[in-house]
């Protein structure tokens, strides 16, 4: 049996890591299907309607799993961390309530969208898709703000270890929280855009002339590509905020031990706590100072300035950070390549090499999201609320948490397997070239 605290942390990590995949799909898939449906209304080409309904079907499965796994999380906050909820509820409860309403709106209009194709007029149908997308993004905004509060607690005064003069609205102006939100929302569009692009690229390698996959690839790649180009900017803003408000976390994820001016940036490498150095990495002199402060000689605080018992686990955090950045940069390069193809060659699907690369990159966005959450969550340790409450003090007294840990791990593995299998079957029955290559109908077809 593993220690209760570790079991609780693993259970929380598994629940979050599982939910996040479905949550980002619930945010970005509706956007893709709305674009496809909008194209259908504009052009009247059946192919776009087919695309919208098929993406909607995928969304439906993913959203349902996202909804129930999100319910698990909302209970687990109390089931695993009752002391944290008792302390933080009055401050961040408001964000969760707002998230509840955003999710409510999302669920209502997704129901209307999925089942209402022939029941409401086309423009209202499209509008309900837009509402699903907007409320999905809002939902992410509120819930990530709550996470940002755990990283940088604001909106109260401490009195004998308890919060007084509580001002929940301060969570909305929390710099860490705000920068986390745009980073997460962009990440959702990057990950889902490239995942969907990769899947359709795979089918284009087999059926290069299938216009269904061609249009799907174009929409997904432009969506994911634009987000991927913005993401480094967003990441830079977040890193600067972390450097200002949570210097120990920044030092941990960079593997930066000694406070120096002209600090180096490390690519790869494994931080070694005993010698306070990084081994096997590529050093870029002045890189870190330049990135954070725009000045190669600026001083960056190192881990050694902080008491050892407040350090997060360095190796995990540093590696996860590197994986996130590497994935992000590969996807950014793919975006540049893709946009160049659209601009110069007016065509995305002629080059088999490009399609193969897209297939290879399909999971990178999700990998970046998972490792990004490792950075923010493990990087916050040993605190559950930074500087206020340690994770050890928040955990439930309920013993034997290994049991639910094993149970939920198996349950989620099973569900993940079934979802993959269903989506696989859903994908392999795509329409063939012949069905869709008829002459496009007149421009006004869909509006009549």
């Amino acid at each position: 049996m593993i220690e209760n605290l570790l079991a609780a942390r693993l259970l929380m990590a598994i629940s979050l890591g599982f939910h996040i995949i479905f949550a980002v799909a619930g945010m970005a898939m509706p956007f893709l299907m709305v674009i496809a449906e909008w194209r259908y209304i504009r052009t009247g080409r059946e192919i776009f309607r087919e695309l919208a309904t098929r993406w909607a079907k995928g969304t439906a499965i993913l959203f349902a799993i996202g909804a129930v796994s999100g319910t698990v999380l909302s209970f687990e906050l109390g089931l695993l961390w009752p002391n944290f909820m008792a302390w933080a509820g009055p401050i961040i409860g408001l964000l969760f309530s707002l998230e509840g309403f955003a999710f409510f709106t999302e669920a209502i209009f997704l129901g209307i969208y999925l089942y209402g194709w022939n029941k409401i007029p086309p423009y209202l149908h499209l509008m309900s898709g837009v509402i699903v997308t907007v409320s999905g993004v809002l939902s992410a905004f509120f819930v990530v703000l709550a996470n940002g509060w755990m990283n940088h607690p604001v909106g109260f005064q401490l009195l004998d270890g308890l919060p007084v003069q509580i001002a929940p609205l301060a969570t909305f102006t929390n710099p860490i929280g705000l920068h986390e939100t745009h980073h997460m929302i962009l990440a959702a569009f990057v990950a889902i855009g490239f995942l969907v692009a990769g899947i359709h690229a795979f089918f284009l390698l087999r059926q290069p002339e299938n216009p269904f996959h061609q249009e799907a690839l174009r929409i997904a790649l432009i969506t994911g590509g634009l987000a991927a180009l913005l993401q480094p900017l967003s990441g830079d803003l977040l890193a600067r905020a972390v450097a200002t408000f949570s210097p120990i976390k920044l030092a941990a994820l960079e593997g930066h031990f000694h406070t120096t001016s002209g600090a180096s940036f490390w690519i790869g490498g494994i931080p070694d706590v005993s010698t306070a150095t990084i081994s096997y990495g590529i050093e870029i002199p002045y890189g870190l100072s330049l990135l954070l402060h725009g000045d190669p000689m600026a001083s960056v605080q190192g881990l050694m300035d902080f008491p050892r018992q407040n350090w997060p686990p360095l190796v995990v955090v540093h590696l996860a950070f590197q994986i996130m950045i590497a994935s992000g940069f590969i996807l950014m390069a793919m975006s540049v390549w893709g946009f160049w193809k659209i601009w110069r060659q007016k065509c995305l699907w002629k080059s088999r090499g490009f399609l193969r690369c897209l297939v290879g990159c399909a999971p990178l966005g999700l990998i970046a999201i998972e490792s990004g959450w490792v950075v923010t969550e493990v990087g916050r340790q040993p605190w559950i609320i930074v500087g206020i409450m340690r994770t050890t003090d928040a955990v439930t007294p309920m013993p034997g948490l290994t049991v639910p840990l094993i149970f939920f791990t198996l349950l989620y593995l099973g569900l993940a397997g079934i979802v993959l299998w269903l989506l696989h079957r859903h994908l392999t029955v795509f329409p063939q070239t012949i069905e869709l290559s008829g002459p496009p109908p007149r421009e006004t077809h869909a509006r009549s």
């Binding site: 079907k57 439906a60 499965i61 959203f63 349902a64 799993i65 909804a67 129930v68 796994s69 999100g70 319910t71 698990v72 909302s74 209970f75 109390g78 089931l79 009752p82 909820m85 008792a86 302390w87 933080a88 509820g89 009055p90 401050i91 409860g93 408001l94 969760f96 309530s97 707002l98 998230e99 509840g100 309403f101 409510f104 709106t105 669920a107 209502i108 997704l110 129901g111 209307i112 999925l114 089942y115 209402g116 029941k119 409401i120 007084v164 003069q165 509580i166 001002a167 439930t396 007294p397 309920m398 013993p399 034997g400 639910p404 149970f407 569900l415 079934i418 269903l422 079957r425 859903h426």
Partner: protein, 333 residues
Amino acid sequence: MPGLEDILAGFILMSLTLYVLLGGADYGAGIWYLLARGPEAHAQRQLITTAIGPIWEANHVWLILVVTLLFSAFPLAYARVSTLLHIPLTLLLTGIVLRGSAFAFRSYDVQKSPLHRFWGTLFGLSSLITAMFLGIILGTVASSNLQNPHGGFVEVFVLTWIQPFPLAVGIWTITLFAFLASTYLIHETPFPALRRLFRRKALWSLAASVMMAILVLLLTKNYAPGIGQGLLQNSTGWVFLILTLLGMLGSTAGLWTNRFHLARASAIGYVTAIIWGWGFGQYPYLIKPDLTIYNTSAPPSTLELLLFVLVAGMIVVLPSLLCLFRVFKKIQV
């Protein structure tokens, strides 16, 4: 003049009521899916899945609202409940996850899949389990068994809820959800054969729920004295008991004489009266004998904002829900 705590507690109880009336009926429909037999079995299942398909996810959110409001407004009570009821809450969550996933898999798997029947059965079974554990949890909260129990693991985390009263409430909840679902389902189909079938199911589940109601009331004397006294020894309690009784009678009369609108309205009244009777029965306690809505509440600054968010949220959500039901619930008697 009710205070902020009273208003928020009222909002939580209202959300719970809506969860039971809407989400509860979805679980009830799952139970009928499981029990569908005979030549009409396929038609029944078809009716059930068409009826709940577009709305179950929205109905489910009322529960999330209950949870978030509870931990925002009454964090100390939430911490106590989620610590001591860890096991039944986890089982409730398991039911929720399996019900939702199985329903989604059933709906989006190809029809001739060999697993199609399995998803259906899993959907039905998990609906039953979820209803049972929701009842057990509410029953334990009502039974004042959560006053800092001491002893070993079993005494603290198990024997609080494996008790006659919570278990009886669990079974009662199953019968109530099944009853609600069948009275709603009568309205969802134009086919006389199916309507007759669900009328009969409604009458049987109503009878079962009335028997469980009597059993639960009898059990309060020894196992949930607080709530029993709250109901029987003051006039508000009697008002709710009489309303419950009227709801039962109205449902019976409506079903018996084929006045299905009356039956549905009375069914809603019956279940609502039970929940609000329980609420008033233990007011102002969340967990007897020590935690009230006053000594566990968040500070007024939080409560004020929460109230504002609730009103604004309802202004968005209620018309949207109305839209949803208008689009999909057009079949009328």
